[in-house]
């Protein structure tokens, strides 16, 4: 089966400064891949390239089998509609209530209201949010609820790929654990494909089938966490605190 996402010898920059070189990895259907690395290592930059918001300096990024660079802006927009994104901090639109935030991707697709209402109810339910929260404004929500609403917005249009940027950042351990458990349930029941950027070792361990570790401008390692734990590279051992050293 063709991978949903593939990076082939990709080099990316940030404001003209090279950030990552020789990045090659793929995300297969039904797989959750964790993209990990120290702060400033270029993880979010890679995500922006995957969304087609930036062009790589070198190499090729394929999304659903199509090379992103050669697509027209309209074709890229069509591809993006097949993706659900959970941005860091939720990025909910502060002037819209929970219902309107979640409904936004469906309204953009031109679906009639009668179809939007049940789909929003489903997405809220999948994200573990009671329907009473629908009329509330983002400013009235706790951090954990903002993340759940952002997840509902990411799920509502039945994405073939979910991109999660630090979904547990800023959440307390209990709320973060509840979110990880929810994602585990969704992966089991919906078989979602996801690429998750995270520093949270518990999230990476419990959710991801494979981990791609970047740092020092390169891809350091990729594979299952159990396999990475066997490697002697001090950067890997330091990141995953395998020697009891401080991690990221």
């Amino acid at each position: 089966m063709d991978p949903i996402v593939s990076f082939e010898d990709v080099e990316v920059d940030y404001d003209g400064r090279p950030v990552l070189k020789d990045i090659s990895f793929a995300v297969q259907p039904g797989e959750i891949v964790g993209l990990a690395g120290p702060s400033g290592s270029g993880k979010t930059t890679l995500l922006r390239h995957l969304l087609g918001l930036k062009r790589p300096v070198r190499g090729r990024i394929r999304l659903f089998g199509d090379p992103l660079v050669s697509l027209s802006p309209a074709a890229q927009r069509r591809l993006r509609r097949r993706i659900g994104v959970l941005f860091q901090g939720g990025a909910l639109l502060s002037s819209l209530n929970v219902f309107e935030n979640v409904a936004l991707p469906l309204l953009e697709m031109g679906l009639p209201d009668a179809w939007v209402h049940p789909m929003v109810a489903l997405a809220l339910s999948l994200a573990g949010l009671p329907p009473e929260n629908a009329p509330r404004m983002p400013s009235e929500l706790s951090g954990g609820m903002v993340t759940r609403v952002a997840l509902a917005r990411g799920l509502v249009a039945e994405p073939e790929l979910l991109l999660l940027d630090e979904p547990t950042a800023g959440l307390d351990p209990i709320v973060a654990d509840a979110f990880i458990a929810l994602m585990c349930d969704l992966q089991k029941s919906l078989g979602i494909t996801a690429l998750m950027i995270s520093h949270d070792l518990r999230a990476l361990e419990r959710l991801c089938h494979r981990i791609v570790l970047v740092g020092d401008g390169h891809l350091i390692a990729q594979g299952r966490l159990q396999d990475l734990a066997l490697q002697a590279d001090p950067r890997i051992r330091s990141f995953f605190r395998l020697d009891g050293e401080p991690g990221p």
């Binding site: 002037s95 219902f99 697709m109 049940p118 789909m119 109810a121 489903l122 339910s125 629908a134 400013s139």
Partner: protein
Amino acid sequence: MRPPSLQRVDSPGGSPRIVLSGSWTIRGLQNPRRLLDLEKEIHLLHARDPKCPWDLSGATLDHFGALLLRRGWLASPPIHLQLTPPQASLFARWARIPPCSPQKTKDGLETWLRPARWISQALFDSLALIGLIALLFLTFLRQLGASLAKPHRIPFLEISQNLYQMGLKALGIIAIVGSLIGIVISYLAALQLQGFALRGFLVFIIGISIVRELGPTLAAVLVAGRSGSAITAELGVMRIRGEIDAYRAMGIDPLYRLVFPRIVALLILLPLLVGWSDFFGIVTGLGAAALTLHTSFLSLVRQMPRLVPSFNLWFGIIKGGFFGLLIGLVACRLGWDVPPDAASLGRETTRSVVLSITLVIALDALAAVLFRRTGF
């Protein structure tokens, strides 16, 4: 992606069945017209023969496709339904979803009372805003008194920054607008008075209209639009980003650090900007009059102090101080209370400008009525 389709298949020797194929997914069904057609087709097929078995196992289905089928079947799904296990879980999930509404539920009485509630809310909000502005004014007076008692605590740096931003950078636009208004008044009046040999009256009109009314009002309107909006937006963003709470957490009074310097700066600036605007208005007004009447510019300037009593100049400048105080109070109050969302920030900034200008003109009208017999 194959388009969604359904057909009634008559199997040889057996009973007919309805077979679905293609992509019954949100992306395969997002054309609203096609969606409604399919819903109608499902409904008709099911209503015609409710006992006919349906075979979905060959179709690609997601939650949206399952929703379409549920809507088409209305409340009664087919008795014989052939599904794959993932498809069965989609229907099971839909059966558990509670409805949700974008609005809070309202009863009938509340709907009827809504207009009355809007009016009372608007009145209450207006009164509350007046009260809050008055409260801010009292706080400002208290801080001014405390600052004068301990001058070393006055936030001179913040005040000077605001003087630079709101004053020095506004000199150009105020000079241009003041000059243009002087020219307009001069030409309009000169055209009317030509042939009446009323040169002194023209000097009086230019002088009195600019120093008493137009200079202060125009400077205040420009400052309200330029600086009042900026103050509301700055304080609003600080409120949204939690900077005001950070001041409080550090034991610093945010009103004294953020609001007091801005109001003081406007209080100092507006009279100076009024003088600046008056100067350009009169110079260009008299210059234009000299050109129109073919007379000496200096002779017109010399007539000015005799025809326009100095009270009018001071009246305009002092009015400017009140306008500055009013703009500062309104802009700071609205910025201080911005609700934490992007739309509110824009709305409150617009409201700040509109309210400041309205109150400036109202105060100007009140002053005109109260001092109607003075200065002539």
